[in-house]
């Protein structure tokens, strides 16, 4: 990532102010605006960063407005429209992706913060034509209706099953110190509460995840 350090910014700001001021003088002959007012205006200039993102084992180098969320880069710059924008506030989970194997909301993180991270989206879960076991299970158990939340549900479930494999407890866990926490339906529901489904396909989502978890243990 190439960052503009403060010196570079100051230089650029001075340059912009200088050229804006001379343009104003040349065209109108008006006196210069106060430096403070000019600086205030210029400091709202768009800041960009060159960032290399590693997504589904493929590197992309992009020049991004620093404000760009990971979600917007995936959808708009890289055409990975499997990841969905639902609420854009971290409440619905439709934008769930895996970063270094951990599930997060892509809408609540800036793309520029993810240089050197391994990002996996729904497009990267299958191995060629062979679906990820969770993808197969969602089909086999009819774990969706309209399908909008499904990529987020599946990425979230992939992250969640890894958390369970590592023995992480949840709010539904009765004994926090248990060596083995059985992944009951109650546990699955609690652990998946960050993913909403407006079609309320929840019963079959739970079945699909339970089946994939069972298969993974075989």
């Amino acid at each position: 990532m190439s960052e503009q350090d403060d010196n570079a910014l100051l230089t650029r700001r001075a340059l912009l102010e200088g050229s804006a001021a001379s343009a104003l003088l040349l065209t109108t002959g008006m006196p210069l605006r106060s430096e403070a007012a000019a600086a205030d205006e210029v400091s709202f200039a768009v800041h960009t960063n060159v960032v290399t993102l590693r997504i589904n084992a493929h590197d992309s180098t992009l020049n991004l407005d620093s404000r760009t969320t990971l979600l917007d880069v995936l959808r708009h710059q890289l055409g990975l429209t499997g990841v969905k924008k639902g609420c854009d506030h971290g409440q619905c989970g439709a934008c769930t992706v895996l970063v270094n194997g951990r599930r997060i909301n892509a809408c609540l993180t800036l793309a520029v913060m993810h240089e050197n991270d391994e990002i996996t989206t729904i497009e990267g879960l299958a191995s060629g034509e062979r679906l990820h076991p969770l993808q197969s299970a969602f089909i086999a158990h009819d774990g969706f209706q309209c399908g909008y939340c499904t990529p987020g549900q599946i990425c979230s479930a992939a992250g969640m099953l890894e958390e369970a494999r590592r023995g992480w407890p949840s709010h539904a866990t009765h004994n926090l110190c248990a060596a083995n926490i059985p992944l009951t339906d109650e546990e699955i529901r609690e652990r998946m509460s960050g993913n909403l489904c407006r079609c309320a396909a929840y019963p079959n989502i739970v079945k699909a995840i339970a089946a994939a978890a069972h298969e993974a243990r075989q």
């Binding site: 960052e3 404000r67 609540l108 992480w168 652990r191």
Partner: protein, 327 residues
């Protein structure tokens, strides 16, 4: 979202220096609350300092049995840590009762402490809010104030602090460690949060340019630890009322008692007077009712949140009863 200059800090000192240099700078770690507020332009930093590369992600034992939790330890890692689960189960329970799996994977210890209120009027730029625009008024006072504070609020602000983790840390007598240009300091977590008074926009006692580097937990106190959270749905919702208790008791006497409430005040609310009353009580139904009365004696409810007072009392009584039950 307003434009900002993004910078990645590589040392803690560098982050603190950058933060002190500019009044419009903010640190970003998990970003789950800050980015949300930036999208709504409630927060408008012009300079964002990414602290995720700093070496503040470990949980280390200290001499004497205390535990130091780095500012960048993710909420999910903290909740799953075997020492926390074994010795400070209250903290694991509180963390697991908060947010969603995705958010806990991003959110950090320091970010959780410094998250802003979820008052609807604070989140709505069209409404007056003394916290967002000092002096503009409080729309919650005469608005829909069901989720608002019944303890410690002021005529200028009745917002609650949303954290579960901070309530558990308050009951555990945690200390906050910071770094600024003036050096390092450490203080009780209770001193982190300022009462709203007439300046609800000033939420913490942190100075300009001061950064939380860690939270330390003293050796685990004796007694049973419990976190009880009551909310509108079973998961992924903020507390209407939460109670953290640590109680060391048998059928004869209570030897140690800590009580902290969440969801009812502008900060995690420690029930010191109720703790003292519990120490001199024998656990009985009558005594519990009396202690609950004492804990909520200063409660002042609004039009829509009067239910929180009996709810907090009953949740506390339930937690104490569970903690003092045999077996």
């Amino acid at each position: 979202m307003k434009s900002f200059l993004y910078e990645r800090a590589t040392t803690t000192q560098q982050a603190v220096d950058a933060l002190a240099k500019r009044l419009d700078a903010k640190l970003i770690a998990g970003g789950t609350n800050l980015l949300d507020l930036m999208k709504l332009e409630i927060e408008q930093p012009r300079h964002l300092i990414d602290v995720n590369s700093l070496p503040l992600s470990s949980i280390e034992p200290l001499p004497g049995g205390a535990l130091r939790i780095g500012a960048l330890v993710r909420n999910s890692d903290l909740a799953a840590d075997s020492r926390i689960r074994r010795e400070y189960p209250l903290l694991s329970q509180a963390l697991l009762a908060g947010a969603s799996g995705q958010i806990r994977n991003q959110a950090t210890t320091a970010g959780n402490l410094l998250q802003r209120t979820r008052c609807y009027y604070f989140y709505d730029p069209r409404m007056p809010c003394n916290k967002r625009v000092p002096g503009s008024g409080c729309a919650a006072l005469n608005g829909f104030n069901r989720i608002h504070a019944v303890l410690g609020a002021s005529d200028h602000c009745i917002a609650t602090h949303p954290s579960d983790m901070a309530v558990a840390m308050t009951a555990l007598d945690a200390r906050v460690e910071t770094l600024s240009a003036a050096g390092a300091r450490s203080f009780p977590i209770d001193q982190l949060y300022r009462p709203p008074g007439s300046t609800p926009h000033v939420e913490t006692s942190l100075a300009q340019g001061e950064m939380i580097t860690s939270v330390t937990l003293p050796p685990p106190p004796p007694g049973r630890q419990m976190y009880r959270k009551v909310r509108d749905r079973a998961s992924f919702a903020f507390a209407l009322v939460a109670v953290a208790t640590i109680i060391d008791a048998d059928s004869v006497a209570v030897r140690n008692a800590r009580i902290a409430f969440g969801g009812v005040a502008p900060k995690p609310w420690r029930g010191i007077v109720a703790e003292q009353a519990l120490l001199s009580a024998r656990p009985s139904r009558d005594a519990l009712e009396q202690i609950a009365e004492i804990a909520l004696a200063d409660a002042r409810s609004q039009k829509h949140n009067a239910f929180k007072v009996p709810l907090a009392k009953r949740t506390l009584m339930h937690a104490i009863a569970e903690s003092t039950r045999d077996g």
